[in-house]
Symmetry: C2
Subunit: 204 residues, 2 copies
DNA sequence: GCAAATTTTGACCGTTTGGACAAACGTTAA
DNA sequence: TTAACGTTTGTCCAAACGGTCAAAATTTGC
């Protein structure tokens, strides 16, 4: 598992690369990979295109670092689910954490959704490897909890999928959610409302 | 509400326009609007680019007819939910229908997801108008059922969102679902498994 | 303060893209 | 048969795109 040694970077390189990642996240999340241009990202980062290309060798490279970082963040909540903990509490925490991510990192969620929608060309191996392994492990934990009667019995895989789908919906389909809820119910409280609803749905 | 009079079309025009729509659906669903090229669509439809542009005045126009048709199909299952029917049966049928759509029309689902992800630039008015009105109406029906004790009490809006999110997940995130389930559980039966799970989740 | 290293810029290039157009081809109906 | 109409094609264009490069400007280490 020897990955290429991380190149030494100057302070400016670290700062500018981070600045570019931030800008690229904004742009990629809205337009997808092919729909985004280097110029757009450079603009959003407040620098010229050649300058940006001094820090990343091409468009792919920018996208790659985003996706890589994304996957870590994304799987963290599921990793945190603890077999030794109280099942109800663990599930509730998991839902809460995912919901907070939908609220606080909607761009990351949309970037991920975009990638999957297009067939996950860049992360399919990770999905089949790391993600599958993690889900297999946690599905076993959930199945165990269900056998012990601590959780209502159902299919643990689809149980996990349902939590993913419902929580991420509030990030990915936010426009639609707000359009349907209108001004009153669609305000800032919508994430809290949703979290409460989902706890009832999955634990009630 | 006078929309522009539908132009008279020859038989060939009707056939070719349909052929183009079919090809465009395939391409747009995979790459999104900006990520798709007219050449790709023309190729997929087996004709030259100028020929395609004889039938649709530009890329936007192709996309527009797809989106328009999509919305009809999309809302049909929810419209079909009948206040006079048995609540459990109505909800079950709704989930089944949505699940069948995820299985049989995944391209339509992905096209829709793409559009929403990008902020729904072309259909926001429809979401705020027609869709909101329909959901308001059906949410009231569901709330009524809940008050009558025919359905477990919860927030009817988030209840509908949850059904949307979970069913469409199996179309939009199909790659991920298959990657995680693997060959055995991820075969053709996955839609049936999911449907059963969701019935339990929403009605059990 | 200065030389070396790093950062930024403007000008440029080949390719792809959306779209225009006129000419050619095919079909139909008087 | 032929004129009118519908369809298809090859060619072309301007803009946008991803990316290069050498030179200028700036920062850094001594």
């Amino acid at each position: 598992m020897d990955r290429p040694a991380a190149p030494k970077r100057t302070r400016i390189q670290r700062e500018k690369r981070e600045l570019i990642r931030e800008a690229a996240l904004e742009v990629f999340a809205q337009h997808g990979f092919r729909g985004s241009t280097i110029d757009q990202i450079a603009d959003a980062a407040g620098m010229s295109k050649p300058n940006l290309l001094y820090y990343f060798k091409n468009k792919e490279a920018i996208f790659a670092t985003l996706i890589q970082r994304l996957l870590e963040t994304w799987l963290a909540p599921l990793r945190a689910m603890d077999e030794a903990g109280d099942p109800q509490t663990e599930i509730r925490s998991y839902i809460r954490r995912k919901m907070e991510m939908a609220r606080d990192f909607p761009r990351e969620s949309r970037l991920f959704a975009n990638e999957i929608l297009q067939g996950a060309p860049r992360i399919l191996p990770t999905l089949e490897g790391e993600l599958k392994a993690l889900v297999d492990e946690k599905a076993a934990v959930i199945a165990h909890w269900m056998r012990d009667g601590k959780l209502k019995t159902s299919d643990p895989y689809h149980f996990i999928f349902a939590i993913w789908a419902t929580t991420q919906h509030y990030a990915d389909f936010d426009v639609q959610v707000r359009a349907v809820l209108g001004d009153k119910r669609g305000g800032e409280g919508r994430f809290e409302d949703a979290a409460r609803f989902l706890e009832g749905l999955f634990l009630g």
